[in-house]
Amino acid sequence: MNLKNKKWTSDDFLKVRGEVLTQWPTGAEIDLNEAAKYQENIPAYRHFAKRLEQAKQQGQTLTQPRAGVALINEHIKLLNFLLKEGEADLLPTTIDSYTRQNQYQEAQKGIEESLQTGRSLLNGFPAINHGLHGVRQVVESIDAPLQVRHGTPDARLLAEITIAGGFTAFEGGGISYNIPYAKNVSLEKTIIDWQYCDRLVGWYAENGIAVNREPYGPLTGTLVPPSVSNAIAILEGLLAAEQGVKSITLGYGQCGNLMQDVAAIRSLELLADEYFRKHGYQDCFLTSVFHQWMGGFPQDEAKAFAVISWGAAAAALAKATKVIVKTPHEALGIPTKEANAAGLRATKQLLNMLAGQVMPLNYQLQEEIDIISAETHCILAKVFELGQGDFAVGTIRAFQTGVLDVPFAPSERTLNKMLPARDDQGAVRFYDTGNLPFTDDIKAYHCDKMKERGRVEGRMPTFQMVIDDIYAVAKGRLVGRPS
């Protein structure tokens, strides 16, 4: 198939579908028409897209944890615990890493060992192995909207099984679930595979069921400059909309400087609206998600609570539609359900205390919005140009040439030439803009910011500064100062 940002024909879709459903025996259980009927019976308050729309209209910020274990009953218990003890508004099902790499055999081994040892040896819920009926058992046991969260480059079968199973939201995208999650998978292939997922969601939409889609915003979670993640989020959103998706949540991972974080969400919302309108997708309902700090966490739980709370506060002041919540165990391992619920409750306390408080516009916030927007426009314009009017083709070429570049990514499909670092106030800037298509003004802006920090620290900006920044939050600060 030739990559193009064009809605798939029914024929193309059905042809590929035949192959997808045979990737693992449980694929055979799916019947789209039966699935649509099943979805129709899910009440509105359990429906992700509807819940998000309502929250956006009411100016609310909803909480959502990450969580998933190997076995069905344990997974149900976990989610219900987070609902009750964590007061979570939205629930996830985090998929294990073997499933993410399509290693269903390994996942099966994980299930069996988990059964034997009585503790989850998988870092998530292996939905494909559990199959349609396993998934529905979960869906029917949880009285809240449910989303699949993963990191799967090829998630076609996973989308088929989980949406048919009654999940009303599905995270991921051809860029955001490739570059941070794979090493050597062709971007062309993942974009096509995600067009499949989006077309599937588009099919449901045509049948009256708006399944929510969420490109994965934070990417590597490590010093990703807002314009980079915003550009990719908007691109994936546009690609999804083209396949007929009608409910999209665009995401951003907290950087830690309040003005920059608020600006990032505002700019993301503004620009997404602009691009969606311009390209004819104004009927797509857009919402936003703010991820609490995604980089390395402090091991100390008190300090972790502080980082979590700061993320909650920033999300509230930015008025994101939902916030993805970390836990006090983050630095150490998959959280216990108690630690997960504690992170949720801390977050809820602050969201409630800050309900109604908004960050008023000010010169610094405006400056951040302006610079993020200008950079994002530069990137998107260049992608469009490289693709000769096709955002999908443009994306491929943009990654080849470094016009799109994700820092610290495992993938060989990103140039890794751009390097971020913090400025003296902790905002994430570019230490090296690499091949990003920025104007000289923008480059000078970042260069000045880095020099300013260098002056304060009495050292030249070097790669050591970047490393110091990577460790900083875990060590108790935002900016990695020389010791």
Partner: protein
């Protein structure tokens, strides 16, 4: 052999894609004078073995962050022995098991699997470099 650069094979095992620590370890070991053969993320046991044989490395540094380390790392020492490189140092580090666990337990588990040194979360490269230099010196390999 005085003065010759010591070689280490570096990689993140299994279906694990955590790349940040890997990049930093790569940078730090290189800066400390080692020759680093960095396999990046998503590395199978066989790839570790092959790289160690090909480059005649003194140590394999296995990282596992994502929680499946216990399953992924089991058997690597046996494969080394089979491949005739049983003298190679095996270091392992990261977030080795699913969930927050007493580090002593994890350490014992991985020692039993045949790893020479086991590191918990939050380990800084300097410490690992110092340990490796010491282990290599004990084995008569004077390094950079």
């Amino acid at each position: 052999m005085q003065g010759k650069k010591a070689k280490v094979v570096l990689g993140v095992i299994g279906a694990d894609c955590h790349a940040v620590g890997n990049k930093i370890l790569n940078y730090a070991f290189t800066a400390a004078g080692f020759e680093v053969v960095n396999l990046g993320v998503l590395v199978s046991q066989q790839e570790f073995i092959n790289a160690a044989i090909e480059t005649d490395a003194q140590a394999i540094l296995v990282a596992s962050l994502y929680g499946h380390g216990e399953m992924d790392c089991r058997g690597l020492r046996e494969r080394c022995i089979e491949a005739g490189i049983d003298n190679t140092l095996l270091y392992v580090g990261g977030n080795l098991v699913v969930g927050k666990t007493e580090f002593k337990q994890i350490e014992d588990k991985f020692y039993q699997m045949g790893y020479n040194r086991v590191y918990g979360p939050g380990t800084l490269p300097d410490q690992v470099i110092a340990d490796l230099k010491q282990d290599l010196a004990q084995r008569g390999f004077g390094c950079a």
